[in-house]
């Protein structure tokens, strides 16, 4: 059969050979009808691909939904988001497939370097391909595929990203994809070491549903720890409480955060050997676990997800990690910071989630939703102050009076900082 390069594609014998091999191995409509096959080349990332049609039955046996970004790695982390098989849209998709609907532009990569029996690695349309496979006994018709060849890691990542941009893919999935491509698996390994993730467990594709740390949160923890550490090293002990601190929140989604990128360029694999960072992670996890358990078991406060996972609220995590970094040079206070806030009868959870959610300062607009409930800079500053004030005491609970004083301090410092004094 005739295989030619599109006029905008640079001819490449090796690619032609791989495409020929693919067409020899896989039953396509083009081969059956002996129609010419055109090899295209992406103008931006220069990846080669063809468009062809494959019957549902043939496709279902050779597609691999567990596509990997790093094919050299022996670990089996899948890059795509979780399949939502109970989602209404998927059910409609499946029903349509059973009724004989044709699906098109399913994006796959032909790759024999892992799981050879399933060489078509799915990057775009995993729900469609699953629906087609599930419906094959009702309808075995041709569906349209775009098949990429000989992708390098960067091209593969881009294919994965652009294939998922059109549908509702969470930023957590994008973060996970970019993390692995750009920085490797240090962050995941660190989270496994600290205990945020179990051995062989990966970051969730949708953090809001998973109740475990996301790429964004883990990145924010690290960045805050190190910027706090740098700041703390410049301060004498009597200067610590006279500043407003600005914990950082890393960006999420298709844009890679500059502060995190810079940190990883400097640190890279060294983050795995930083015992102070690992300790901070373990102590923070202890706080999260204590909060989770307390809310789950308490009878006096609602067992709400937002209360259980209070430590994983962005402002809480960023503020805590920043102060952990800040106090690295101030060990006595660091020890106090690492202590879990005391619980008492009326405050059964260490972070006092109920009181935090009711909190309001005079300067807050009527719509303010409470302390440690959002990710804004104001909230991060306040939470950092809460933990900084806590580090002055051997044992304390985060009661209303304590929270009020901490936030008052931030507001007072902010007023002074504006230069009116």
């Amino acid at each position: 059969m005739k295989i030619t390069f599109d006029e905008t594609a640079k001819e490449d014998d090796r690619i032609k050979h791989i495409v020929t091999e693919f067409l020899d191995q896989v039953e396509t409509l083009e081969r059956k009808m002996s129609t010419p096959v055109m090899i295209f080349q992406d103008g931006k990332n220069l990846a080669y691909y063809i468009k062809c049609s494959i019957k549902a039955q043939d496709a279902s046996g050779i597609v691999d939904l567990d596509a990997k970004l790093d094919i050299e790695s022996t670990e089996g982390y899948r890059a795509n988001r979780e399949l939502l098989l109970n989602h209404k849209t998927y059910k409609t998709m499946k029903s349509d497939a059973e009724a004989g609907r044709e699906f098109n532009d399913i994006i796959v990569e032909y790759n024999l370097k892992y799981n050879k029996v399933r060489p078509l690695k799915v990057w775009g349309g995993q729900h469609r391909i699953r629906a087609i496979s599930d419906a094959v006994k009702f309808s075995n018709r041709y569906h349209g595929f775009r098949i990429y060849f000989d992708l390098n890691k960067k091209q593969r990542t881009e294919v994965a990203l652009i294939s998922n941009t059109n549908i509702n893919v969470s930023n957590d999935t994008f973060d996970r994809i970019l993390e692995e491509t750009l920085f490797g698996d240090y962050l995941r390994k660190w989270c496994q070491e600290a205990g945020f993730l179990k051995k062989d467990e990966d970051f969730p594709s949708v953090g809001s549903k998973a109740e475990r740390i996301t790429v964004k949160l883990a990145r924010s923890f690290m960045v805050n720890f190190y910027i706090g550490k740098e700041k703390g090293a410049q301060l004498k002990s009597d200067e610590i409480d006279k500043n407003i601190y600005e914990p950082y929140l890393t960006e999420t989604g298709v844009v890679i955060d500059k502060a995190y990128s810079s940190l990883m360029e400097t640190m890279g694999s060294k983050i795995l050997g930083d015992h102070s960072l690992l300790d901070a992670g373990k102590y923070f996890l202890a706080l999260h676990n204590a909060q989770y358990k307390a809310v789950k078991e308490a009878k006096t406060i609602p067992n709400k997800k937002s209360y259980r996972n209070k430590a994983f609220v962005e402002s809480i995590l960023c503020g805590w990690a920043y102060i952990a970094g800040l106090l690295q040079a101030h060990k006595t206070r660091l020890e106090k910071h690492y202590k879990i806030p005391k619980t008492i009868g009326v405050i059964p959870d260490p972070l006092n989630a109920v009181e935090m959610s009711k909190f309001k300062h005079d300067n807050d607009p009527p719509t303010y939703r409470g302390l440690g409930t959002r990710s804004s800079l104001k909230d991060r500053q306040r939470v950092a102050q809460v933990f900084l004030a806590k580090s002055l005491q051997d044992s304390c609970s985060l009661d209303k009076k304590f929270l009020l004083k901490a936030v008052s301090t931030v507001e007072g410092l902010l007023a002074l900082k504006k230069g009116y004094a």
Binding site: E411, G412, L413, K418, Y420, A421
Partner: protein, 172 residues
């Protein structure tokens, strides 16, 4: 505990009730005026608390005395002999607290006693004093317009102090 917005809201509701009442409007207007005053008290006291919560050495002792509403005492015996300490409550008038906040933190804007806003504040204070310290020979002059004026003054004072101390207007 209620905040200044709550008190302003209560004061406003009493005015609305008075507008709907034909007979004894003072039944609603008296609490409205008091609540307008309380709103300022609440806002100013909380603002002082913000500064009082800062590390002690960020203010002079006499400034902390005002922030904490305590008395400065010279110690003439014991281990602290020869020093000044803060002790016991010493309540300050609301206008003193406002002037301190503006002088210390709002140097770009001062409130002169001749300004219309301050004169309105004085009127509200007099009305509040008349209510709080009644005498049989006094004739309380109060109607919906006066109560509304007191409420507006309360909001304007809070807004002025917030803008010039915190550096930003406050959402009322």
């Amino acid at each position: 505990m209620y905040n200044f917005r709550d008190y302003l809201g209560f004061a406003e509701r009493y005015v609305i009730c008075a507008e709907e009442e034909n007979v004894d409007t003072n039944f609603f207007l008296i609490p409205s005026v008091l609540l307008s005053w309380v709103a300022i008290e609440s806002f100013i006291n909380n603002m002082l608390d913000d500064f009082a919560s800062l590390p002690e050495d960020m203010f002079e002792l006499h400034e902390r005395a005002l922030l904490l509403e305590q008395r400065v005492r010279f110690v003439d015996e014991g281990a602290e002999k020869g020093t000044f300490v803060l002790e016991k409550k010493e309540y300050r008038r609301l206008e003193e607290k406002i002037f301190f906040l503006l002088a210390k933190f709002g140097k770009t804007a001062q409130l002169s006693k001749g300004d219309k806003l301050w004169q309105n504040f004085e009127k509200l204070k007099d009305l509040r004093n008349d209510i709080m310290h009644p005498r049989k020979y006094m004739d309380l002059k109060l109607d919906v317009v006066i109560a509304k004026h007191g409420l507006t003054t309360s909001k304007e004072i809070i807004s002025f102090v917030s803008t010039h101390v915190s550096g930003k207007p406050i959402e009322l």
